[in-house]
């Protein structure tokens, strides 16, 4: 449990402080190095001498028929740590120039290769994570808020509002979410500013998923409102909203937390899918989804494996989230017993 949480926290911290861990600006283009493969780190130079500090070779156009790039062994660049470079805002707030690593002069280090415009994949992956994870978090909180609200109203008041809301929830649960998402996306303007697009996309994703948390919250509210302490508080003259806030809602926190860990990966994937299809967050702002958009071309799929990086990264991340959800569920069960 501890190491899982530690790993997740570390992963999110790296994404949050992307500016420091990324060697380059995510929008910085190197038109000469389109689709360069990941730069190799060397310890042994062309003469066979061993170095303590890893170094990279500069790239030059390959002389072979196949094209691509090859290493120019006459121009080594030592890898330096804690270097100053392109300015950025740490976590979007603190201005800084420090990067974890980099190479001097005209050398380039692309640990995960470059995309079509020669932009560093690693930097884009880290900055893109900020967008994608933030989209997931925002959408999750929209969903939970809407779900908790609907669930409380339905569970507490019962009667026809309950029936109407719950059949609505059934409808939303039953619809194929991607069709629904595209259907809703269809009605929004296609071309938006990056901030607007981000907000719209996240709220669409989040609001489509309100049904499942609403049903769960409703179930808990139904049972909680009959508890003795709630009846007692009501006897003392407590009002409905007060009862809900003070006595009933706290019972749902555990379920909401578990739901959050389950919804977050779904919503990250939803953003990735939408942006992959070209309906989400648009270039040049990097997101994991629009980075994958390059894979809609067969030759990119066939030749440049490093373009898969974002979707490959999703797998361990999701494994972490699901693992956390499982642990939370187990903990809540033992707590309930």
């Amino acid at each position: 449990m501890r190491w899982l949480i530690a790993l997740l926290v570390a992963a999110h911290a790296i994404v949050l402080f992307a500016g420091f861990f990324a060697p380059y600006d995510p929008a910085a283009q190197n038109r000469d190095f389109s689709f360069a493969s990941p730069t190799r780190l060397h310890l042994r130079d062309a003469g066979g001498k061993l170095h303590l500090r890893p170094f990279v070779y500069a790239l030059k156009d390959s002389a072979t028929e196949a094209g691509g790039y090859e290493e120019d062994t006459s121009r080594p660049h030592r890898l330096r740590f804690l270097v100053t470079g392109q300015g950025y805002k740490l976590a979007g707030v603190i201005p800084s120039q420090w990067h974890l690593f980099g190479v001097a002069d005209e050398g380039r280090v692309f640990l995960l290769g470059t995309d079509r415009f020669g932009r560093d994949q690693l930097s884009r992956l880290l900055y893109g994570g900020q967008i994608s994870i933030l989209a997931g978090l925002l959408a999750t909180s929209f969903s939970l808020l809407a779900g908790a609200l609907v669930g409380c109203v339905a569970g507490y008041f019962g009667g026809w509002p309950d029936r109407a809301l719950m059949s609505g929830a059934e409808l939303f649960l039953a619809l194929p979410w991607l069709y629904l998402l595209l259907g809703v996306r269809a009605v929004l303007p296609l071309h938006l500013g990056p901030a607007q697009a981000f907000l719209l996309v996240t709220s669409v994703i989040g609001l489509i998923g309100w049904a499942r948390p609403a049903r769960m919250v409703r179930g808990i509210v139904l049972s909680a409102k009959e508890r003795n302490y709630v009846t007692a508080a009501r006897g003392f003259g407590a009002s409905g909203p007060y009862l809900l806030r003070r006595h009933i809602l706290p019972e749902t926190y555990g379920v909401l937390l578990t739901q959050a860990t389950l919804l977050l990966p779904q919503y990250i994937l939803a953003e990735v899918t939408l942006s992959f299809l070209g309906l989400g967050i648009a270039e040049p702002t990097p997101s994991w989804g629009n980075m994958l958009g390059a894979l809609q071309e067969y030759h990119v799929v066939a030749s440049y494996w490093w373009m898969f990086a974002p979707v490959l990264l999703l797998f361990p991340l999701f494994l972490g989230y699901f693992g956390l959800a499982g642990l939370l569920q187990k903990r809540m069960q033992t707590y309930a017993n």
Binding site: L178, L269, G278, Y298, V301, L314, F322
Partner: protein, 318 residues
């Protein structure tokens, strides 16, 4: 409850849901800024008068309830409206695409369930021992694999190895079922893999609950053979949660299928919907969403019928 009454009630509910979805999509579409003809306004070759004529011809200037009424009456006649982009009625357009989507989704669903049931039952019947542990950890790994990764990975496999045709539904010039089957293998496999882990998990947990019931103990005591016990006695009793899962599995399969269709350029509903969304082709969007809902409701209805035949508890008046 008699079967006619039970199924009638279910059918009615499905119709109400379908109507609800149609109202929802219409209202959403009404809120949308812009329509298909707005882009034409920029074209100097088309006069504003022509545009106004087009708008009027397609009834875009009428108020929403009027348009919805028109549309509903047309749908009752089997006419889903007019595609601006294809310049043809929507119904035949959707029919071809829907057939292709079903060609992908139905085999995928059948295979996924045909694999999930034995796997789940097997794993539940050996709870805590190695078959269970292996399946459980395999499913919890597979659950975390995004559909997108499966689909893109499949595409890469096809492009690199050439074992499978890369995308599309038929090779140029080739006809016949053999060619179609070759094109089906990869997308269907991807869909099965994406649906399977969740299904196995649910079958397992539903079975575990039933296996603890006293009647299973009794049946075991009577010396009923293992396989018969599991499949003849325990599985039907576990069917109730599973049939409602069937509906959801169709929903996730349709969503997954959209993605796979787009990535593998399979000419199904998915790419059509995507195109329509990008092109603001209103009636195609509404038609695709409605059609996917219809598939889903049909699947759920089939599940209800199945449940009725499997579980005698449903037949008794409550």
């Amino acid at each position: 409850m008699r079967i006619a009454a039970y199924l009638g009630k279910r059918l009615l509910r499905a119709l109400v849901l379908l109507l609800g979805v149609s109202v929802l999509t219409f209202v959403l579409a009404e809120l949308a800024p812009g329509n298909f003809f707005d882009d034409m306004r920029l074209n100097p070759q088309i006069s504003p008068k022509t545009l106004a004529g087009l708008r009027q011809q397609h009834g875009l200037d009428d108020p929403l309830p009027v348009r919805y009424g028109h549309w509903l009456r047309a749908v009752a006649r089997g006419d889903l409206g007019y595609s601006f982009a294809y310049n043809s009625p929507v119904t035949p357009l959707l029919a071809v695409r829907a057939r292709n989507t079903l060609l992908l989704a139905i085999p995928a669903m059948l295979i996924a369930w045909a694999l999930a049931i034995p796997l789940g039952v097997w794993s539940a019947s050996r709870e805590g021992r190695w078959p269970d542990r292996v399946t459980s950890s395999a499913t919890s790994f597979l659950v975390a694999v995004p559909d997108l990764l499966l689909a893109l990975g499949g595409l890469m496999l096809a492009v690199r190895t050439r074992w499978f045709p890369v995308g599309g539904m038929e090779a140029a010039g080739a006809t016949g079922t053999g060619d179609l089957a070759r094109h089906l293998v990869l997308p269907v496999t991807i869909l099965v893999l994406s649906a399977l882990p969740l299904l196995v998990r649910h079958v397992r947990s539903a079975m575990l609950e039933v296996l603890e019931a006293p009647f299973i103990q009794a049946a075991r005591g009577h010396g009923i053979p293992r396989t018969e016990l599991l499949y003849r006695h325990a599985l039907p009793a576990a069917a109730n949660p599973l049939t409602s899962l069937l509906g959801f599995s169709i929903a996730t399969l349709l969503s997954g299928s959209l993605l796979v269709e787009v990535i593998m350029s399979w000419p199904g509903l998915g790419p059509l919907l995507l195109e329509a969304v990008l092109g603001r082709d209103l009636y195609v969007v509404i038609g695709s969403v409605m059609l996917s809902t219809l598939f889903l409701l049909t699947g759920m209805f089939a599940a209800d019928v199945l449940l009725y035949t499997l579980d005698p508890r449903i037949r008794r008046p409550s």
